[in-house]
């Protein structure tokens, strides 16, 4: 038995370098990231990961990324971060040190991305951020962090502009989750709203663990607001929408972050009708891509592969990969400094929209060109509820429904 153990140990020692060598093979690019397979961020993280997986599979099926006369296949190394920031820092260190990940994708959410960015910068690894919209990590002088999505500060710009056009003196109740992302979004929206003459009648945050918004909705009603901006992530946003409907808050305008961007939000039925959500991407947008798939091609391929509708998280996940691929191809190398230079110089349009990164030291890597759209839950031609793009005017697939019809139950 002892001899068997010794043999097994020797075999393990011999095999270990072989595995290490394999993971850093010269014609394979290793991309590492964590996904929230468990915990409250599971749903949104899943979309992001599926989008990235689709990009990887398409690239490998096409022979890999071509750069400097070589073709590089892409392999992923991933771990479950359990939606916990502490795990993210451990796992990104492991991805870099043990798994030899040459490039990184961000986890989902601003909080986790900020935690991961500390590690990626420390080791000088390029990290494409498709899951965290908070701008703060990009104001710390980071050199290798690049955001492909619109930053949090611009999330509700479209909603503010559209509301100001419909009701120039509207009173807004802002009630949002007490987390970095939601606070950044609503702080910027408050500034933008007051600048265009809208009044903020209520501005309060709630603990992310809040389960009952009954007294909060009564407070919103007491504020005499016409419009509601807020929410945060998933169940809180949906609960707010339902309770505002159940308690007949009768807001003329409701914009909620994240939750209405998921198709399951339609389960709320009449409580979902008229709710708007700032979205990074919707299947109705039609940017003319310089490379990669068009929106219909992406949406169809995603549906075929996962038997699920593509949402903006999936599109962002795919775009992280497509942007990295383009940068490597432009650099003609996988050398981090050359790829960083290519990312800094990038100004391209994909099916996800225009991508360009800020290069000034105060905002390096922050997304500077991508635009959000505003989607609204409306009755579709088939009678079911679905999301239509209602803002900006140039990109709309349906007219904005304003005001939201009052609850009749």
């Amino acid at each position: 038995m002892k001899r068997l153990c010794l043999l097994a140990a020797a075999a393990t020692l011999l095999a270990a370098p072989a595995f290490a060598q394999n993971s850093a093979s010269s014609d394979t690019i290793t991309v590492g990231f964590t996904e929230s397979q468990t915990g409250p961020l599971n749903v949104d993280s899943l979309g992001l990961v599926r989008g990235a997986e689709m990009w990887r599979d398409e690239v490998n099926a096409a022979g890999g990324i071509k750069a400097g006369g070589k073709s590089y296949k892409v392999q992923f190394v991933t771990y479950d971060d359990q939606s916990v920031g502490g795990r993210v820092q451990q796992l990104y260190t492991r991805l870099i040190v043990q798994d030899n990940a040459q490039f990184l994708f961000s986890p989902y959410s601003s909080g986790l991305t900020a935690a991961a960015a500390v590690v990626s910068e420390q080791y000088g690894r390029i990290m494409l951020d498709g899951g965290g919209a908070e701008a703060k990590p990009f104001m710390l002088g980071n050199k290798y962090l690049f955001m492909v999505i619109t930053p949090a500060g611009s999330y509700l710009s479209g909603a503010v502009a559209a509301l100001a056009q419909k009701e120039p003196h509207a009173k807004i109740a802002m009630v949002y989750s007490d987390d970095p992302f939601s606070k950044a979004v609503l702080a910027a929206a408050k500034d933008q709203a007051t600048k265009v003459g809208l009044e903020v009648a209520m501005d309060e945050s709630y603990a992310p663990s809040t389960t009952d918004f009954g007294p909060v909705v009564n407070k919103i009603i007491s504020s005499n607001a016409d419009a509601f901006f807020g929410g945060g992530h998933y169940s809180d946003g949906a609960t707010l929408a339902r309770q505002m409907y159940d308690q007949k808050a009768n807001m003329k305008w409701v914009s909620i972050l994240v939750a209405p961007g998921d198709d399951k939000f339609g389960e709320l039925g009449p409580a979902a009708l008229g709710v708007t959500v700032p979205s990074q991407w919707e299947v109705q947008v039609s940017y003319l891509p310089q490379f990669g798939p068009t929106t219909p091609q992406f949406a169809k391929a995603f549906q075929d592969k996962f038997n699920a509708k593509a949402d903006y998280h999936a599109a962002a996940g795919y775009t992280q990969g497509a942007v990295l691929q383009h940068a490597i191809e432009q650099a003609g190398s996988v050398d981090p400094e050359k790829v960083t230079a290519a990312l800094n110089a990038m100004d391209v349009t994909t099916f996800f929209g225009r991508i360009k990164f800020a290069t000034d030291p105060e905002h390096h890597g922050l997304q500077a060109a991508h635009d959000m759209v505003l989607a609204q839950w409306q009755q579709m031609p088939d009678g079911k509820l679905g999301r239509q793009v209602v803002w900006p005017e140039a990109a709309k697939s349906a007219d904005l429904m304003y005001p939201i019809p009052p609850a009749t139950h």
Binding site: T38, S209, I221, R242
Partner: protein, 287 residues
């Protein structure tokens, strides 16, 4: 002023449901000194049973109550034999860890099957409006049902032979055994009743709010606060504690920023622990 009153009434309605959710927790603690950390997951199980029965079989939401009541009891008895029975009489930490482990397994299975996606059960019950404030019909009905179920539990514990035997076991297990009460069987029944109450409260909460697999944590946490307010091991105290918590949430929210509600809630929790270590309505060991 009307807004404050509306929030307090709303607090009473939701508080009754919180109280029902905590009754299961405190019943189990009262009878066998076990803190059941699967409680939140059992609440979620009630929510998902409601969802499956209404969406897949078209059962009206409130007709799902009997199957959840019975199913919860059976699941609870099974859980008792799997995770709790061997821990009875050992340090409380053992049963705490045991139920914590089972809880992790159940949440893992739930996340694997449903993810953390959102589920909603549409309930159409006309509400009552006072001025601009509306009390949804589902909230009123859930509060009434919670009160009825709590009353039924009280009658069961005080008016039936089995209930009196349960109280005897809670009071003094050895003495109960000496007079011929099969205490092991009664512990299993008490655990079944506790889980059944969790399931039913989950069902009622599922008629009020959308939910995910992970929704149980918040309600379990509230359950602990309610249990402390109401007194460990006192189911009726738990109901009163639930109402107190609901009223507190309703009464505080209009006056302070919403983010302070939890601070005040848990500040009160600490104060109650200091002033009344056994809970405000404590009648330890008498159920």
């Amino acid at each position: 002023m009307l807004g404050i009153l509306a929030s307090i009434i709303d607090g009473v309605l939701v508080g009754l449901v919180y109280g029902l959710a905590a009754m299961g927790l405190t019943l189990i603690w009262g009878v066998m000194d076990v803190i059941n950390l699967t409680h939140g997951t059992m609440i979620v199980a009630g929510m998902f049973t409601l969802y499956l029965l209404t969406s897949a079989l078209g059962v009206p939401p409130y007709l799902a109550l009997p199957p959840v009541l019975v199913g919860g009891f059976i699941v609870g008895v099974a859980l008792y034999w799997i995770a709790v029975h061997r821990m009875i009489g050992r340090p409380p930490l053992m049963s705490l860890l045991s139920t914590f482990a089972v809880n992790l397994v159940l949440i893992g299975i739930g996340t694997g099957v449903w993810g953390t996606a959102l589920f909603n059960v549409a309930v159409s019950v006309p509400g009552i409006s006072i001025g601009r404030y509306t009390f949804p019909g589902a909230h009123i009905l859930a509060a009434v049902l919670a009160a009825v179920i709590a009353a039924a539990l009280y009658l069961f514990l005080h008016g039936t032979r089995l209930g009196r035997a349960l109280r005897a076991v809670a009071n003094n297990r050895e003495a109960a055994e000496l007079v011929g009460i099969p205490s092991t069987r009664l512990l299993a029944i008490a655990f079944g009743c506790g889980v059944s109450l969790a399931g039913v409260s989950g069902l009622l909460i599922g008629t009020l709010f959308p939910f995910t697999v992970l929704s149980g944590d918040g309600y379990q946490l509230k359950g602990f606060v309610v249990t402390v307010l109401g007194g460990f091991g006192n189911p009726i105290g738990a109901l009163l504690g639930g109402v107190a918590l609901g009223v507190l949430e309703g009464a505080v929210t209009p006056f302070v920023p919403v983010s302070w509600t939890l601070v005040i809630e848990f500040g009160l929790f600490v104060l109650v622990l200091i002033a009344f270590p056994g809970g405000v309505f404590a009648r330890r060991g008498t159920l």
